[in-house]
Symmetry: C2
Subunit: 271 residues, 2 copies
Amino acid sequence: MTRTELASYIQAKKSVLCVGLDPDLDKMPAQFTRDAQGVADFCCAIIDATSDYAVAYKPNLAFFESLGLEGWAALAQVAQHLSKYPEHFSIADAKRGDIGNTARHYAEGILGQLGFDSITVAPYMGRDSLEPFALPGKWAIALGLTSNPGAQDFQMQAMADGRPLYAHVLDSYATWASPDQWMVVVGATRPEGLAAVRKQLPDHFFLVPGVGAQGGSVEDVMKAGAVPGEIALLINSSRGILYASSEADFAEAAAREAARLVQEMKQHWPS
Amino acid sequence: MTRTELASYIQAKKSVLCVGLDPDLDKMPAQFTRDAQGVADFCCAIIDATSDYAVAYKPNLAFFESLGLEGWAALAQVAQHLSKYPEHFSIADAKRGDIGNTARHYAEGILGQLGFDSITVAPYMGRDSLEPFALPGKWAIALGLTSNPGAQDFQMQAMADGRPLYAHVLDSYATWASPDQWMVVVGATRPEGLAAVRKQLPDHFFLVPGVGAQGGSVEDVMKAGAVPGEIALLINSSRGILYASSEADFAEAAAREAARLVQEMKQHWPS
């Protein structure tokens, strides 16, 4: 998916909602079997229930890999289902990163074989570990400032010039690739950080996790990060939508929660 | 596998050889089919051919994921085959890393379901993204100073105190977990770096890639990193062993190359 296409889907819907698919056997509605097939069925049902509101879907690969080989079959089923929604941006939340030759193999598997539009990647190994993911028509979504407590350990530590590591990482991203194929992960739990990152990278799309269960708010994220026109955000919600109800009405409850988040986005939509 | 067990296997064989399984369809011997089953068969044949020399095996998950769902089935076959060699340490070279709740799912899949002794992990997201992998009887193998050009981009950049980022990362590793469950990746292409890391972490096992095709030498690595007694190294060779011959004699050629590397290790074995 190109940037122009993504921006047009966002404008048409007035939504930057990304639904994170983190299917947890212990939390899924009772009607789904506690196995990989249940996981696939649950994810596909959530996609169908929320597609009017969401512009992106983000399966987190850990929740599939935890089920072994059958979990991968479930992921392939979900990827196949997402391919029926070509106007929704698909993100493999995989946080891969390895030397160039190896990175190319990850790209082939996740962007090629499974057909995702994009993949999340981790920067510790540097440029040659990241660039192979920015394939034609595909996107690398690279970690910038994350929403978890561990962001403090390295990302927020000062480098020789006094600026934090994550700011240096963002500088590098800006020189390595076009913002037409490169997004950055910026956690919603640090709105002051988000505003700083937006100042540093005015043209990049940000994938923003951490709204809801992790404590971030849609209002804060829209105010700190939205750019008039393209908006250039994807705000992710996982648990709040997936587990809005654990009963038979889970799909309606998920749709209601998605609609509520989109309503909040519209309220703070920059004019 | 416990540290005591690993050290005893190393001493019994006088070898710290880890065979990296990076099966490439374009380079495999002609007798194997160009598909996931061929990949599994090739890896199992390499394991059987080199098991007298190696103390560890390290499948790189990218080379399996690149083949999609069937690639994962091939990885599961290789993991199953490795379970028949309980005196060989198995490493899933996966470079995973995500927030704590998600990291636990990766650990469950790769250390639990697939049964690997250890997994390589990437540190950008900090402590809570790494600790879930140090499960009872299992190991986290965390990136320290890598062997690729991109190591220069962030790892070797100076922090506020003038020391490079990777040295700070190693400091954290030393306080986060016991060296009985925590190894560090240190590339062979930077022997001066390896000596510095050994000084900083005298008790940790290092997984050392980059010998052979990437330019590092066994002699330099043994001299810079081997600790009398436990040695505390695993020196990885992938392409040099896997593709020692592309003909019908590939297994004998792989064994010969493995034997040659172990001979070099013995020559520089600290007394």
